[in-house]
């Protein structure tokens, strides 16, 4: 059994000009684990994902994937291993490309053959009917687009999936379907997830462990069980929990 964590981050610092967005962040995610990062706007949680994925190259610290330390610019092999699902289903698919084009593109970039079969399989796995294959994004609903985004992330068969608020732009009933899909896929393919969200209930449902971030720092790391028992150690985490319970009059 490998003891190397799938993802290890040590003293990560990210700044955009004068603003120091991520400060001395360290955490590790084991292989096959689902790890949540929770925070409000300005906490730096989405920036962490962008740095992990290689989209953002202005950072200092150490990032290791499966034991291998990562440079700022990643190579193609990295992208076969690590993929991302974005928040906004209305912005993450190219408006002028059909579902087929979108799924074929990563295969073409990596020179992977039998695209026909792989595309068909990817669509079936995310529950999209085959008849949707040549639709354009504007002919799909938000939930359907997000399924395409998930299929696109999985068509290269990565082992790590970075999920940036994948359901916050979706209706509650669609969110349930997509979350169930993500759970099933993780089990089936033994994937490692990092799920970023502002919604504590979603994170508690999807993740085993989670990190609470505030103003760029990791405030508290806890298990989902601690969260469900409403037993956090820091005041900020308690504040988030109380706020998630809804409005209290008086």
């Amino acid at each position: 059994m490998s003891t190397k964590p799938a993802i290890a981050v040590d003293k990560l610092n990210v700044s955009f000009g004068d603003s120091h967005v991520v400060k001395d962040l360290s955490f590790a995610v084991a292989s096959g684990e689902s790890y949540g990062i929770v925070g409000e706007s300005g906490s730096g949680k989405s920036t962490v994902l962008r740095v992990l994925s290689g989209l953002n190259r202005d950072w200092s610290g150490m990032i290791a994937i499966d034991g291998g330390v990562q440079p700022k610019a990643r190579d193609k092999a990295f992208y076969r291993n690590v993929q991302m699902v974005f928040q906004d289903p209305y912005g993450s698919l190219h408006p002028k490309k059909t579902v087929d084009d979108t799924l074929a593109e990563p295969l073409a970039i990596h020179g992977i053959g039998d695209a026909e079969k792989r595309i068909g399989r990817a669509m079936a796995e995310v529950g999209l009917p085959a008849s949707f294959r040549f639709r354009y994004p504007h002919q799909l609903s938000g939930g359907q687009r997000q399924r395409v985004a998930i299929a696109r992330a999985l068509v290269l068969e990565p082992s790590i999936l970075l999920l940036d608020e994948p359901t916050s732009a979706l209706d509650v009933s669609i969110q349930a379907e997509v979350l169930n899909l993500l759970q099933a896929l993780r089990k089936e393919r033994k994937l490692t997830y990092i799920l970023v969200s502002h919604d504590l209930a979603v994170v508690a449902h999807m993740c085993e462990r989670l990190l609470v971030m505030q103003f760029g720092r990791g405030v508290e790391e806890m298990t989902a069980r601690t969260l469900a028992a409403r037993n956090p150690q820091t005041a900020y985490a308690q504040q988030l929990l109380t706020a998630s319970e809804g409005f209290r009059r008086g």
Binding site: V172, A201, S244, G246
Partner: protein, 283 residues
């Protein structure tokens, strides 16, 4: 028994597009008194359209019809455009989702609040400014003088929404329609804004229509709730009953479905229940 603030009977909003008629709202009926009424639904349920129809803000090619649409006994359907416009802001007002998009970026926030006052009351610049500053205090903004001169991009989301509320309440309307007023805000800020709204509505004895997709929030904030789907009301019920386990048997299957598919910190499940849409609900 006091006259209701708003009476709505069989409201219909139809959009006549080149490719066919889209029925956004189909036959919605309710009355609003001095209470907090929540309208809950997913996207496409018609909840936002309802708010806009009351204010006569439905764009072409939308058509609004109703058997009865009365504000304090006055018939809104037979009113002319000018009279309808006078109601807007002065008697019925609306707060929308994102202050980034509803505040004019090239005017200071204070100026916009003062202007909102002067549209409805004859007042000089100084009086309008005084009233605006007073209003900013009422929405818990600590340095009203400083904030008055800020531009919308210089204030945070929560403060921007407070400015919106100040702007929309300064003319002292009887009804406030809030369309997803806290959806763009962080959770901790949301509750602050709701408290401000709650206090103002109670103090002034207003009627509040709170439109949201967040069932949880509406259940904890409102007095009564209308659950909408596909342009129709599935059911209308007291908000407390939504959380009441004992009352579940009386719930409409759509409401139960919505409640069931939410992840719940206190009741962890391996898989979330999904909503089975029954076409009979749209009939």
């Amino acid at each position: 028994m006091e006259q209701p603030l708003l009476e709505l009977d069989n409201l219909r909003v139809d959009f006549h597009t080149p490719t066919g008629i889209v029925h956004a709202v189909r036959g919605l009926s309710f009355t609003l008194g001095r209470e907090r009424l929540g309208i809950v639904g997913e996207s496409g349920s018609g909840k936002s359209m309802t708010g806009r129809a009351i204010l006569d803000l439905i764009p072409h090619p939308g058509v609004v019809t109703a058997d009865r649409l009365r504000f304090r006994g006055q018939d809104l359907t037979t009113m002319d455009k000018g009279a309808r416009r006078k109601l807007r802001g002065r008697h019925i007002s609306m707060v929308m989702q994102d202050p980034k998009f509803s505040l004019n970026p090239v005017q200071t926030v204070g100026h916009q609040i003062a202007e909102a006052y002067r549209i409805h009351h004859k007042a000089g610049a100084r009086e309008a400014r005084e009233r605006s500053l007073a209003m900013l205090e009422q929405v818990q903004i600590r340095e009203p003088g400083r904030v008055y001169d800020l531009y919308p991009h210089e204030v945070s989301g929560g403060m921007g929404q407070r400015v919106m509320i100040a702007m929309m309440l300064i003319a002292e309307p009887e009804i406030l329609i809030a369309d997803e007023p806290t959806s763009a805000l962080d959770v901790t800020v949301q509750l602050q804004i709701l408290k401000i709204l709650d206090d103002l509505v109670t103090q002034r004895g207003m009627g509040l229509i709170f439109i949201s997709h967040d069932l949880h929030l509406v259940q904890s904030f409102c007095d009564r709730v209308i659950v909408m789907y596909g342009g129709k009301a599935m059911e209308t019920l007291p908000a407390a009953e939504l959380a009441d386990e004992a009352a579940r048997a009386r719930r409409h299957p759509y409401t139960l479905g919505l409640l069931g598919c939410l992840p719940d910190l206190d009741h962890p499940r391996a898989e979330l229940a999904t909503l089975k849409r029954d076409p009979a609900w749209l009939a």
